[in-house]
Symmetry: C5
């Protein structure tokens, strides 16, 4: 699906592919071409014929069809910047992924070509940040008047803002897990913790690479980002610094959860063993007492007296009670 | 709440919002505008209308309303510097946070705009460093004569000094915990250690980012900090180096506490198990002895002799005593 | 085995060693000389006599005969670049290496001399990337027209592409291992995990050194790589960044597997011990009951009544059942 | 206590405070002013009135009265360098610190002001390096002729040399501890290892900061250190590199000790448990045999034969012996 | 022992100390002075009187008499370079060091002064690399004609080559240890692993410092190393990069061995405990059965029937067999 927007004299017009070629030749107008899960023919026409982008960049763009996409990067081709971003997607919790606390984080790919008058965005799955930017333009067409670099900043700002609810979800999940670890840890808990750690690592990697990229975009390294817009890119950079920082502290929290899990489960089991062993330890002496009077000696004292049984039973109760008392005094129970 | 101070000819005067605009137009006077938990209208008037600060900076300022605020940073807008600091706050120990050793450390946000003649500070919760700076000015008005950069140095110096009692508290808490770990470790101890580690990580992060910031402020990167004041900023930088260093060593101590906790608890439990097992081990042979003479053989020796019982009992005492003696000689008990 | 290709006027011709010397003296033609497991005489003739390469470079080349070869590096000798690459080879799973999940990763060595008109490649074992490049040239001779630097880029691009199936295999293996860890962990599993970690470390090292090398090759440090080709080298660099990133995350996953293995096996064994101890704990009290009525007291109650046996047996069942009920309620079973 | 030395024409003279001011005004002479635990009045006179040092530097100087003093640093005030060093002090082993292997390492503070003709040193506790330098001057007054920077080098060289015996003590202690860990580990051992680790961390930190400082002093960054003396400072730098290196390797050794301690104690306890369990395991079957012949069946074989007892006893001995033999063959004992 | 070699007009002559002074004054000839464990008088004459080296360098040279020598470094004194190298020595396995897998790695010191015409080497223990270089010169005197820097390169190249057999030994030892860990781990194994780790750390440190040094020597930082020789130094640098890389991977392998050791020993012991507990668990129910028929009830069923004994014995066999079957089905045995 290809959507082409042209801004001219305060108005935004939707163009067809044919109109685009004509408009591009006139020196006026700013364009945004968005390819969402495009046909190969559309990619061929637009990226190759109309814009003549470098084959290596186009190849990288198409790697977005893979599962995880290309790592974030920015490349200066002189006439245009080629930028790859990694939006993250949360897979809704199905049977198997449910183990990971209800969701799994996966990265997708947003490729963008940014020239003086044109922004081309390319992605396979629909992206909320693109939709939001389109809605914003329909409300306020003049936002496009500030140039493709400003528009692109809006898209990646939205994209980074989308990380926030995911981080909040992770935070809530870790709270749940902490409760679970300290109250009813099972083997499932450990699987979840390890999966959580993987999710956080994914997020951290994405945030890290994009932070480095935004750092370059915001410090004037590329002529296509005007001085005025650099501040806005700096702003996105700040968000990503915060995010990297958060994921770092999440990592530490998850590490702590793992330590706690191992300690709690081992502790829990040991408590059970202790109680069981205490029971054994109390009954063994009793067993010896009964055995004593079960011996077939003719001269065993008290066998014939009615008090024998009573005293023996009493001594058994005393031995058991005494041991319990000692164990409790030593805080073993 | 907005408080506006003007220094002119050795005197400090408190201005209203209206007077401020007039005074700003005259080429004389140095101003300090403090916004503590301001109304949105006040922010609008001051930050936007009167001072015309950049919208992105104002947006960052308002993020201080969130729980944790924005990470420390400094940005040069030419006419003014925009600085964000993270004062830390100790939440008094209530029921739930009590687990973390009586307090939890949380960061808040202090934003400041520093220009040649004006210092604007903005924060949501009341800050001791601001109050202290105000008291100092009322005693010694000439401190403002050295310019907003000197005044700002006083505020952040106070702010960093406020970390010291928190670090002392942490130190004392860790001493308590060490005693607890080695004398009566419970699962609560582990929760406390993990929470302590989080607190220390928070402090360390805050100290780290602010140290980097102070480093930039103190090495002449920004024209708005005069050469004479740089030394004072260097002084604050030194405090933060010390603080990062301390939090690093605290981190290591907490790590050691965790190791110790795991070792001590596992050791403690094993000691209990050992004693219990020793008891079992002593009574089992006795049980076999009594069983032996409980067998119904007609020709079991000594059944009819009165010495039988005595000798058997004696042998049981000897076996038990002998085992205890062997165990003790091997230092098992 | 030496294979010499000459490109001239759109055609590729296979030369003998003698023809090479003649053709090199004419100012036309681009050459690719490939030495696969060459005789020492061939090395002597080509590397020393014909091309007069530096003895240190030749020495490094011959170190490829060792097991692991030389680490990747690039050296500028002015007239030519000397480059060492480390292709990786998967040893098919035999009896002993089978333990490592069916394969072991080993590095070999590809040495290359790159001058304006000549590319000399040297390797001991046959390499798929060389074969692929040769096939490509036979289909499209003009690829050589772009110079030896373009041809060399094709070879290393193929070489890096060969890592992908290995990474995929590793990924699949780790999935298998995760299942094994959580379902039937044995000591073999641990040996496999440790071996897997070594494999990943090998890959990571190779990727890391080659990434650094490609970084230098792609940023214009060497005059022999023309500006136009730098982009293609950048492309290979990107692949290696991705690969380093993947191996890093694999490393973390393997670390998690080890943690999981240790926790799962210890847990599994403890569960067995718990059940066994529970059985003991249930039978010991029963033993005391039977012992009680085995005592030889004359006045033991109920010995003569037929209900005695029944009540005693009932009480034994009740005691055993009661304990089981308590254990289950406490979730010990 | 203030001691003032003046060098003039090959002679060293001890001055009073009053003479100092007069001599300073003449263009000749080199001075060393040492303040050991000075009165506040002395500090006021010397640091403020006579030398007019920067208030921030004086403030830092006085922080040496605190427990740990200021971190090492060097600051260039143009006319003079302000340097802080951290000598280390070993607290002799008393009851409580005895746990840490007989001593605890604590840092103190030596502040120094170094100008063209004057060296001012300031410290609270007496320092051996200062005393040694004074003795050296009394033997060889011309050492002062080379300027305050040479004298200062002597002091810090002595100071760093004082670390060596401490490192040797640590080394010896770790050897003791290793023996203790492998032969009679107690909980005290762990406390000692953790304390040792803290001591080493303290030393490492001190060495690290001072190394960085010496690096700056020795590479010509400061005009007040003449080219000729730089080599001597480089020499001190080398000592500190060695020291950081040693503390790093000590750190690793201590980490290994902790691992060993945990493994050895857990192993030791498990051995005890194993032996105890083996005893139980041997007596339980015997118990069943005796129980068998204690059953009240009329037709139990052998009850009436005199051989019955003998054979039963023999079978019990055989069972016990057989189990022991199996256990030993499997290397369980 | 002092050995002095002079190269002049294609010939190498052995000089006495007196001849040296005369020859040095003539503008011709290249010299190599080697001091092996020299008398103090020899050091005085040569280093101080003849060559007038800097006292700090001489002091560093003499520190080689200590156990571990000085860390590697290179210092430019203008007229000459002062270089310290750390050859490693393997102590043959005696009683106490035998624990570390048959050998312990110790560093010694080789100091060298390198000027335009003279190379002075100084060491306390005899070094194979020196002897080899001397033999090489006697065969090929012209090697010295290329200058002291080329000769020095030969010495350090030999020295670094001597690391290779040590690394191979370590590799073989680790293979042995791995077998030991997985087949018969004892406490000695752990001591050996820890000692191995220390050996590897020593090697790694030596390699690291020397790599950094060679990096400086090979990139043209020092005028005394001519451009032509730099390549040869680069070659030694490459060897050291490989060596650091190998020691890094050895470190990881040793870390894995430690993990494996801890897991295997704990596993092994737990297996023993499990078998023992299974034996107990099987005999306890049997004990209850015999106890049941040992009760003195008059109406116990089957006491008088000859089938009683047989059925009871059968039931005991069935219970024991049944439990074994269940345990085996659950893979507990």
């Amino acid at each position: 699906m290809v959507s082409i927007l042209q801004y001219n004299n305060g108005e935004i017009r939707r163009l067809t592919l044919k109109e685009l070629s004509q408009c591009l030749s006139s020196p006026e107008g700013i364009f945004w071409v968005d390819l969402e899960n495009p046909l190969e023919a559309e990619e061929e026409t637009l990226l190759v014929s109309v814009f003549d982008f470098h084959p290596l960049a186009i190849e990288d763009t198409q790697r977005g069809a893979d599962e995880e996409g290309h790592l974030p990067k920015v490349e200066d081709f002189g006439e245009y910047l080629f930028v790859i971003f990694n939006p993250v997607e949360v897979t809704a919790g199905n049977a198997s992924s449910d183990r990971g606390g209800g969701f799994e984080i996966r990265t997708t790919q947003l490729s963008a070509f940014l020239s003086k008058r044109v922004l081309v965005t390319h992605h396979y799955s629909p992206l909320r940040s693109i939709t939001n930017a389109q809605q914003l333009l329909s409300k306020n067409p003049k936002a496009l008047a500030r140039g493709p670099d400003f528009l692109f900043h809006i898209i990646i700002d939205e994209l980074v803002d989308n990380y926030t609810p995911i981080l909040d979800q992770l935070d809530a999940l870790m709270d749940d897990m902490e409760r679970e670890v300290f109250h009813e840890p099972t083997q499932e808990t450990m699987i979840r913790i390890l999966q959580m750690r993987r999710n956080i690592t994914t997020l951290r990697r994405v945030a890290f690479y994009q932070r480095e990229m935004l750092n370059r975009l915001s410090r004037g390294e590329f002529a296509l980002i005007t001085r005025d817009e650099m501040l806005y890119y700096r702003n996105v950079f700040d968000h990503l610094v915060r995010m990297t920082d958060l994921t770092d502290s999440y990592r530490e929290t998850v590490g702590g959860l793992l330590d706690a899990y191992l300690s709690v489960t081992s502790n829990k089991l040991s408590q059970v063993m202790k109680v069981l062993t205490i029971i054994s330890t109390i009954f063994l002496p009793l067993s010896v007492i009964t055995g004593f009077f079960g011996m077939n000696f003719a001269h065993l004292p008290g066998l014939d007296s009615p008090m024998g049984v009573i005293l023996t039973t009493l001594s058994m109760v005393l031995v058991a009670g005494g041991m319990l008392w000692v164990f409790r005094r030593n805080r073993w129970i």
